[in-house]
Structures are given as C-alpha cells and as structure tokens.
Symmetry: C2
Amino acid sequence: MAGKVFFSVSMSLDGFIAPESPSVANFFAPEKQDDPQVRRWMAQWTELQQWIFPQRFFRENLRLGEGGEEGLDNDIARQTYERTGASVMGKRMFDLGEQSWPEEAPFHTPVFVVTHTERDPWVRPGGTTFHFVNDGIERALEQAREAAGERDVRIAGGGATILEHLNAGLVDEFSITLSPVLFGSGTRLFDGVDASRIALEPIRSEPSPRVTHLTYAVRPR
Amino acid sequence: MAGKVFFSVSMSLDGFIAPESPSVANFFAPEKQDDPQVRRWMAQWTELQQWIFPQRFFRENLRLGEGGEEGLDNDIARQTYERTGASVMGKRMFDLGEQSWPEEAPFHTPVFVVTHTERDPWVRPGGTTFHFVNDGIERALEQAREAAGERDVRIAGGGATILEHLNAGLVDEFSITLSPVLFGSGTRLFDGVDASRIALEPIRSEPSPRVTHLTYAVRPR
C-alpha cells in the first residue's frame, strides 16, 4: 500500500510561509549578515519557525546537542519526520538549502529536486541523497513514491512547488503550523490556488501554547 | 473600568474574510439571485460562515426559531455577542447590511457607522440604533466606548475599517474563526497591515469539529 502525499509548513497568520526575499544573492554568506534586508528576512523567518527551535527532535535531527522540549510541538515535528519516506523539492528551495543545511542534511531519505539543471545525485552523509529530476513534477513524484515505499511523500517546498502539486490534485493532505506573527509581505502559501476545484476537510486542530497545528484532507469539488 | 476594543471575524484558510464582490449593485435584490457572480459570492460566504448557521444562539438572535446546536461554537458566538456593548462599522458594511439585515437588526446595542454621509440616528426595533459619525474612526470609537460602558467595543467590519483600527493601535485583541475553505480571491483581512509595528500574543486556540477559534492580544513592537 502506497503512502500519502502531503506537505507541512509553518505559516504566518496573514498567510505567508516565507518572508520577502532579499534582493542580494547568497544571503547566507557571512559578509551579508549586516545587510538590513537580510536581517529582516532572518528575523521574520526566525519568528515564524520559533516554535520548533527548542524542540528535542529538532535539536537531535540537526545534531545540536542533547535536551530540548517534549510535548505536542515535539511530537508533531517528530511524526512529520518519521512518516516521510522521500521528499520532493523545488529548485529554489534546494538552492537556498544548499547554502544553509549542515553537511549532514536533515532529511535522511531520498529527496527529488525538480529542476532544469542536470546533475548527478548528490549523496550526503547520514542518508540524504538529492536526485535531480528534469522531466516535471509528476515524474519526480512517481520516483519519490517508489522510494518512499509504504511511508509518505512530503512536498517539502518552496511555495510554488507546493502550489503546483496542490493545484494538480496530487496532494492528499496537508498540515499548517499557524504562528502568531504577521509578515505583511513575502511568499503566500495559497497565492494562485485553484479554489474552485479544492475542498478541505478538517482532520485535526491541535493547539500548543505557541502555535496551532492544523491538518486538512484535500478533496476535489 | 473601560472594556476592550476587539474584532471577531470568520476567515478562510487563505486569509479572506469576504468573497470577491460582485460588480452588480444591490446584489441582495431578488432579481439578482440568478447572476453567476452573485451566486458565487453567496456560495462562498455561506461556506465561510457555515459553522454559525446551526447554532442555537444564531437562531435565537435572528429570531429563526427554537432549537439549534449547543457546544463550543455556540458558546463562542454567544460570548462574542454578550461582551459587546457597542459596535463600530464602516460605511460599506452598513450599506450591505441595510439591504440584508432583518427589521430587528442583530446588534441590539448602539452601532457607530464611520461615514461621510450625514444622517439622523436610525433606530431599529430590538435595541439597535445606528449613529452616523462624520469625523473619523477615533471619534467613532470614543463614542462607542462611552456607549459600551464596562462592556467591550467590537469593530464589526468590514475589512478596511478593521485594518484601519488595527494599524492605528486601537485594537486590544481579536478573534478569528478559521474556516476550512479556500477562496482564492476576495477581501483579505490583513492586506496592508503594518506588520513592523504589531506583535501578537496567542491567548486561546479552541478547535471545534468545524472550525478553529483563535484569539490573540495585540502588542506594539
């Protein structure tokens, strides 16, 4: 039995999953860290993701050391990781990640990157292998399903890649961690969603002191 | 002791509090009900507000008859009504409401309409009186606070009026009932929010089987 296709993101209360991108390239580079646009991006991103940093699972997975919080937020972070047998990712998210992931990238499964760039698989220590797929999202998803076996396939991001899968009817369910923050601008999760074809069924709504974890099944309408 | 200033709205998961408005005027008129734009507006609006229609409080308040559901959704609808000693409303919301409210308008308190139109107070049976305020939101809010006494002032809507109060630092807290629906277009609650000046503190997150009721305190940053 094949697993589900899902995505799981943190979203601001005004619907953004990423701050407005700095116009500078390589904004993770040390010499860019004083750029006001880069600082604003970092501050907003940190606020959006604040719920996850103190979690025991997050610290373990990024090898940040022992300890950390346990509870609902931690359980959900761990479950999201454990259900995932393979991920699909857009080129832009990969490019940002390549600048910022530690050597042991935090996926520990195959990751299929949808891109026009041809490149040999990039094997990282710890079980993450990035495969570069040049023939579209359906083919990337097919390979991810095969690699995931009975586990689920996560559409990792970014926003455009998630939306492409959602509008194509390829997503079974999704989770949004709603953070108590307003961005005002940035990448909107649902910008361009084909609302006339997508119905949602609430599956779970789980509040923690920091955030609310919302899970919906996607149905055609 | 004065009460709080709050707003309480139903919002789609993609951040809209009203569907895209039909370009036809008087769209509640019987002869407009077959217009496809009007039908779409009605269908989306109904889906957004679906959680409230079966509630006992909603039926009582609109004199729709006995019975109805009880539980969290009903309690929240009733508490929102009972805490409200006066409302502030924009001209556009008033104009739409004037076409659609029953004779006994469902506020049962003073309502201060921010408008450039001069008009004598409009007294409705059942305790609602609409006052037309021509000198801006601060003056309208001041009158509403006075009328509300120890109860709270609700910024009833629409979106632009809510945002004007929020950006001016006049809102103490707000509640969003998050509905499992995507609109794709319409009136966004937070479009134009001054995110750099507003911090949110989560107060309550209360899931029901239909929706999630989120309450935040507004803090300056």
